[in-house]
C-alpha cells in the first residue's frame, strides 16, 4: 500500500487532529451523495478509509511520543487486531472468524465462533473471541476470554499483548479521569429538579 499520509494529502507525522480533519474533508468529497455511485470514487473512498485506519490504529497502538498532550494514546486498546493471516491447519470456522475480524464484522465473527464445539475451543479460539467481543463493546467478556487463551498458551505474545492493551485502556481511562477532579460532584442541567422528576416518572414534562 502506498503511504497512508500521502493518500490523505498530509505530510508524514501529521497530528491526529490533522488526520481526522483531512479524512473528513475527503470523505465529503467522495461521498456517494456527491459522486453519484461512481465506482472510481467508491474505490478512492476505500483507499481513504484504509489509510485513515492505518494511521489511527497505528497511533493508538504504538505512539507514545507524537502527541503534545500529556496523555498517551498508546494506552487505548484500539489498535492492530493482531490478525496474523489464515492458517492452513485451521478449521473453516476459525478462518472465517479471523476474516470477519479483519473486515471489522465482529458480530459475524462471534456468531461463527459460537458454532465451534466446546471441546475444540483452543487458545486461538479464545483469542479470536476476545478480540471480537472487545471490539463489539463487551470488554468484560474480552477480558475473561483472553485470560483463558493465555491459560491455554502461556507463552503467546499476541495474546499477552491484547491483554496488555485491555488493561492499558482501563488504566488510561482512570488516569485521564483523575484530571477532572472527584466525580459525583454534581452535573449541569438546565432543569435539574424536573429532570429528576422525569426520571422517576418517564414522560413527565421537562420544563427548562
Amino acid at each position: 500500500m502506498s503511504d497512508p499520509y500521502e493518500i490523505l494529502g498530509l505530510k508524514q507525522g501529521a497530528s491526529e487532529e490533522e488526520v481526522k480533519k483531512a479524512y473528513k474533508n475527503l470523505a465529503k468529497k467522495y461521498h456517494p451523495d456527491v459522486t453519484g455511485n461512481d465506482p472510481a470514487a467508491a474505490k478512492k473512498m476505500q483507499e481513504i478509509n484504509s489509510a485513515y485506519d492505518a494511521i489511527i490504529n497505528h497511533k493508538s497502538y504504538s505512539s507514545s511520543s507524537s502527541s503534545s498532550s500529556s496523555y498517551n494514546y498508546g494506552q487505548s486498546f484500539y489498535g492492530g487486531y493482531g490478525y496474523s493471516g489464515s492458517r492452513e491447519e485451521e478449521s473453516n470456522e476459525m478462518r472465517a472468524a479471523a476474516s470477519y475480524i479483519h473486515a471489522r464484522h465482529f458480530r459475524e465473527a462471534l456468531h461463527v465462533l459460537s458454532t465451534v464445539p466446546f471441546e475444540k475451543r483452543n487458545g486461538r479460539w479464545y483469542y479470536l473471541s476476545a478480540v471480537a467481543k472487545g471490539y463489539s463493546g463487551d470488554t468484560t467478556g474480552a477480558y475473561s476470554d483472553i485470560s483463558e487463551a493465555i491459560k491455554k498458551e502461556p507463552g503467546n505474545m499476541e495474546y499477552q499483548s491484547f491483554l496488555d492493551r485491555l488493561n492499558g485502556s482501563r488504566n488510561f481511562y482512570t488516569q485521564r479521569q483523575s484530571a477532572y477532579g472527584p466525580s459525583g460532584s454534581g452535573f449541569f442541567s438546565c432543569c435539574l429538579p424536573l429532570m429528576l422528576l422525569n426520571m422517576c416518572c418517564p414522560g413527565y414534562f421537562c420544563i427548562c
Binding site: A27, I56, T140, Y173, F188
Partner: protein, 265 residues
C-alpha cells in the same frame, strides 16, 4: 435509565451552551415530527447521540431562536442538524420502552402517548427496533427469574444501545459507534442498578446487582464499560465537540455515582 449522559458541573460555559442549544434543537425536532407527545420524550441521552453523529457526518447546523411552550417568556437559541430526524425517532422508541418498563414495574397504566408512533418507527428502523425490543424482553425475563447477573443484563442493554448508535450500517465507523454505544449502555445500566439498589431493597424489588457488591467492584465494572466507550471514540474522526464528549465520558456520566460515606451508620 435516562439522565446519566450529562455534562459535569465543571464543564466550560461554551460546552454547556452547545449542549443546551442542541437539547432545545432536538426538542424542536421532536415537536415538529411528533407534536406535543414528542416533546415529552426529550432526554440528554439522545442529545449526546445527535452531537456525536453530527460530528462524524459533519452535518450542517441550522440555527434558530424561539419561544416555546416550556420557555414562553424568554426567547432562546437552538440549533438542529440533519441527524436529529433520526435521533428524534430513536428518542420516541426509547421513551416508549421506558414507559412500558415503568408501567410494568409500578403496576400502573400510565397512558403511553408514544405508542401511536411506534409502528412507523419499527418499519423504518427495523434493526434498531428489533434489537431494543428483543434485548429488553430478555432483560425482563431475567428480572422475572430474579437472576442476579449484572454482566449479562448490562450487556443486553449495551448491545441494544449500540444498535441505536449505528444510524447507518454502511458507515465506515459503524463498528466504532456500536462499540461506543455498547460501552455507554453497559455503564448506564450498571449505574442505574447501583443507584436504585437501596430503594429496591426497601421496596422488595428486583435489582440486578448481588446484595453484597462493594463500591470497588461496581467501580471496576463501570470503568471497564466507560473505557470501552472512550477507546471507540478515539478511533472516530471527531473534531467539532471532542472536549464536550470527553467531559461527559470521563466525568459527567459519573455525576450520579454516589459514594458511600464511611463510618456513618
Amino acid at each position: 435509565m435516562f439522565g446519566y449522559i450529562v455534562l459535569s458541573s465543571s464543564a466550560p460555559k461554551e460546552d454547556r451552551k452547545t449542549y443546551r442549544e442542541a437539547y432545545c434543537g432536538l426538542c424542536h425536532t421532536l415537536k415538529d415530527k411528533y407534536g406535543k407527545a414528542g416533546m415529552l420524550s426529550l432526554s440528554y441521552d439522545m442529545t449526546f447521540l445527535s452531537l456525536l453523529l453530527s460530528d462524524i457526518e459533519d452535518s450542517q447546523k441550522t440555527e434558530g431562536k424561539e419561544r416555546c411552550i416550556v420557555h414562553p417568556i424568554v426567547e432562546h437559541k437552538f440549533f438542529t442538524t440533519s441527524v436529529m430526524d433520526y435521533t428524534a425517532s430513536m428518542q420516541i422508541l426509547l421513551s416508549h420502552y421506558a414507559l412500558v418498563d415503568y408501567n410494568n414495574d409500578e403496576k400502573k397504566e400510565k397512558k403511553n402517548r408514544f405508542l401511536p408512533f411506534i409502528p412507523e418507527i419499527e418499519k423504518t428502523y427495523r434493526r434498531q427496533s428489533d434489537a431494543l425490543k428483543n434485548n429488553l424482553a430478555l432483560i425482563w425475563e431475567n428480572e422475572k427469574k430474579g437472576l442476579k447477573d449484572p454482566y449479562q443484563n448490562s450487556l443486553l442493554f449495551g448491545e441494544a444501545l449500540g444498535e441505536i448508535f449505528v444510524k447507518d450500517e454502511n458507515s465506515h465507523f459503524a463498528p466504532d459507534l456500536r462499540m461506543m454505544g455498547c460501552g455507554m449502555g453497559r455503564f448506564i445500566y450498571l449505574l442505574d442498578a447501583w443507584d436504585d439498589r437501596k430503594k429496591d431493597l426497601k421496596n422488595n424489588r428486583y435489582n440486578p446487582l448481588p446484595p453484597d457488591i462493594t463500591e470497588e467492584e461496581i467501580r471496576t465494572m463501570l470503568i471497564d464499560a466507560a473505557s470501552c466507550a472512550t477507546s471507540a471514540m478515539e478511533h472516530m474522526p471527531l473534531d467539532d465537540y471532542v472536549p464536550l464528549f470527553e467531559n461527559i465520558l470521563y466525568h459527567g456520566m459519573w455525576s450520579r455515582f454516589k459514594v458511600e460515606v464511611k463510618g456513618n451508620e
